[in-house]
């Protein structure tokens, strides 16, 4: 019978980290939250209930509509209220409002707009409406000025905003590990130059520079080109924290006995770096990355919010929040603020996850 102490003694480092991480309850919850968000991002088009780009003046500013699960006879048959056009007696304009007497039934795995999922062309969606008239839809989170369904737009925006963070962090990580590593391994003049450069970059006001650089992106660039350009612009100023972490860990580990042993055994500099040093602080890097991600996401959201980041027809959290910029609009359509909820949740979750990982990164401490 192995006791807990025995198990502890023979556990691998990954296991130790996992055990330590499991004790951080908020970090565990955050991991689940983030997993849900990334699944949502992956299946965004499948989960979308209507085309996120389709505009319809009839459905402008419809308040969030609940899904009723049971029909009048008590059987399970989800439905939403339809819409009807009412002639305004004063202006003779046709005004569309929610018609709670009309029931439009929901069909699961029905046909909707076409999209491609992992290279497969399909038009299946989780929920669509059966026999819907034009303008009717499942408006879980309401619609915006142009009558686009906020839930569907939010799903697609989540994919854009979450991946922009990942791509950006990858670039920052590359720069950070490279420059932080160089700084620590070579020391001397190279170290001084890189360290001063980091100090200078950290004291630059980021937003004005980002704004200036992203305003210069040509107007005729495609959504994808702008997407990558924005990520690169953001990463150029955000690699410094990662470089500091890498350098600090490098310097601390270089003094350890096992590195000396490797040197005495005749291992080359490269082998020591990649075989001995990097694996022993990968966990620290992962922790630093999960703390850098939220900053990345906030940056993209802020730039797009100001109209100088991603541009429509791209959909991201910042672009959705741009619609909510005006207080008068918000008073008319408060549900537009719902776009802020995923931003806050994801940033919080990444912070907790990063905290948990940082605590668990060094399981012997």
């Amino acid at each position: 019978m192995a006791t807990d102490a025995d198990r502890y003694a023979v556990a691998s480092q990954a296991q130790l980290i996992w055990w330590r991480f499991k004790r951080h309850r908020m970090a565990m919850i955050s991991m689940v939250v983030l997993a849900v968000f990334y699944i949502l991002a992956l299946g965004a088009d499948f989960l979308a209930t209507s085309d996120p780009q389709a505009t319809d003046s009839r459905t402008s500013y419809i308040a969030p509509q609940p899904i009723h699960l049971f029909d009048a006879d008590g059987s399970f048959r989800p439905w939403v209220a339809g819409i009807k056009g009412v002639r305004d007696v004063k202006t003779f304009k046709l005004v569309y409002t929610v018609d709670s007497n009309r029931r439009v039934y929901i069909e699961f795995f029905g046909h909707g707009y076409k999209y491609s999922f992992l290279g497969l062309e399909t038009d299946r969606h989780l929920m669509t409406l059966k026999d819907a008239q034009r303008g009717e839809g499942i408006y879980l989170f309401g619609t915006d000025l142009l009558g686009r369904d906020l839930w569907s737009r939010l799903a697609v925006a989540t994919r854009v905003s979450l991946t922009i963070g990942l791509v950006g962090v990858t670039i920052s990580l590359f720069l950070g590990v490279l420059l932080g590593g160089l700084s620590a391994v070579y020391g001397g003049v190279i170290d001084t130059i890189i360290q001063r450069a980091i100090e200078v970059i950290r004291s630059l006001p980021a937003i004005p520079l980002w704004l200036g650089l992203s305003a210069a992106l040509p107007n005729d660039w495609s959504v994808t080109q702008v997407y990558f350009a924005i990520t690169i612009i953001i990463s150029l100023l955000t690699w410094t924290d990662l470089a500091r972490v890498v350098r600090g860990k490098f310097l601390a580990l270089r003094e350890e006995d096992f590195i000396l042993a490797a040197e005495l055994a005749g291992a080359s500099q490269l082998r020591i770096v990649f075989h001995h040093l990097l694996p022993s602080f990968t966990s620290h890097i992962i922790a630093a990355v999960s703390l850098a991600l939220p900053a990345m996401i906030i940056s993209e959201t802020s730039l797009s919010f100001l109209g100088l980041g991603l541009r429509p027809p791209a959909i991201s959290w910042g672009i959705l929040l741009q619609d909510a910029q005006n207080v008068q609009t918000l008073a008319l359509a408060p549900w537009l603020l719902l776009s802020a909820v995923p931003v806050v949740l994801v940033i919080l979750a990444f912070n907790f996850l990063g905290d948990g990982l940082r605590d668990a990164a060094d399981p012997y401490g």
Binding site: R196, R202, S203, A206, P208, L211, G307, A324, A340
Partner: protein, 329 residues
């Protein structure tokens, strides 16, 4: 100590230089040279520029010559205070910016003061009374400060003020004071309007610093010398403030210096949401309209302000932190 100040000063100059190059690059980035853009702008508003004028403008800015020559010509004029002409406003850039730059500075400094005066006592309290009710409250607000981007916070506060109080909380002046000439009354009006945007702007930084201060102080409080001090009968107040707090101040203070760039950055966004008459809205408008001299100048001025602000923070830091004063002697 002199070594520390000189080092900081040199770094500041280096940063200023880098910012000036970047600002000029931003002016240059849009495709086509800006004399073409200028002529097109004028033509669209009905007035024409003669070939002669265009040629002399090109001469003036050194267009067609290498980047460093153009940069040299530009910086030589910037140094004597000539920032060029705003294409959109058809007035010298410096006139368009006007006192917006000072209001930007006022907002950032107010936020900095809020950060300093809140973060330190809250950090100390949260560490000394760890897991108390107030500690949980502060931690909760801290997480809000970290997780909610400040423009979102501004948006939400605006929304609730508008729907619940029916009041607009934006702006830095009351309506009747906006166009009034500067005087005591206007300054007082500004002081009355400043706290809300300053607090919104300061929240993220404060939350971050509270967490740093709390963690550092908790580490210090567990050390044996604190027990010794208590055993010797020092009052609790003195035990905490005299040694552990000063020891915990170092990482706290070195982080403080980087608050100013973040405040300048954040100020731009919340100014747009709250409609504050700082350079923020002007910068975004000029970038959208490709009014590059205006945009470049604003980036340059903000950068220089950041350098000055960081330098001042460094001096304050040196004053509160004896180890820094002596380590480089």
């Amino acid at each position: 100590m002199i070594a520390f100040v000189t080092r900081r000063l040199l770094l500041g100059l280096l940063t200023t230089w880098l910012i000036s190059v970047l600002s000029f690059a931003i002016i240059q980035l849009p495709p086509g040279d800006f004399v073409d853009a200028y002529i097109a702008q004028l033509a669209s508003s009905g007035s024409a520029v003669s070939a002669e004028e265009a040629r002399s403008l090109r001469e003036l800015y050194g267009l067609g010559q290498p980047f460093y020559v153009q940069y040299g010509k530009w910086i030589a004029r910037v140094v004597v205070g000539d920032f060029g002409e705003s294409m959109e406003w058809r007035r010298p850039v410096i006139e368009v910016i006007g006192d917006r730059i000072w209001l930007t500075l006022a907002l950032s400094f107010a936020a900095l003061i809020v950060t300093w005066t809140l973060a330190l006592p809250i950090g100390i309290y949260s560490a000394v009374r760890q897991y108390s009710f107030a500690d949980y409250i502060f931690t909760f607000f801290g997480f809000i400060g970290i997780a909610v981007p400040n423009f979102l916070l501004a948006l939400v506060i605006m929304y609730f003020a508008f729907t619940m109080l029916g009041a607009s909380v934006g702006g830095l002046f009351s309506a009747e004071m906006t166009l009034a000439p500067w005087g005591w009354e206007k300054a007082w009006d500004l002081i009355k309007h400043l706290p809300l945007p300053a607090v919104i702007l300061a929240l993220a930084g404060t939350a971050q610093l509270v967490r740093i201060m709390r963690a550092n102080l908790l580490d210090e409080l567990r050390k044996p010398y604190v027990v010794t001090a208590r055993a010797k009968g020092l009052s609790e107040m003195r035990t905490v403030l005299k040694y552990p707090v000063r020891a915990a101040l170092n990482p706290f203070a070195s982080n403080l210096a980087y608050q100013f760039p973040q405040l300048i950055s954040g100020g731009i966004i919340i100014s747009i949401v709250l409609g504050l008459p700082t350079v923020g809205p002007l910068l975004v408008k000029s970038l959208v309209a490709k009014d590059m001299f205006l945009a470049g100048t604003i980036v340059l001025l903000l950068g220089v302000l950041t350098v000055i602000g960081t330098f001042i923070s460094d001096l304050v830091l040196m004053w509160v932190e004896p180890r820094l004063r002596h380590q480089l002697d």
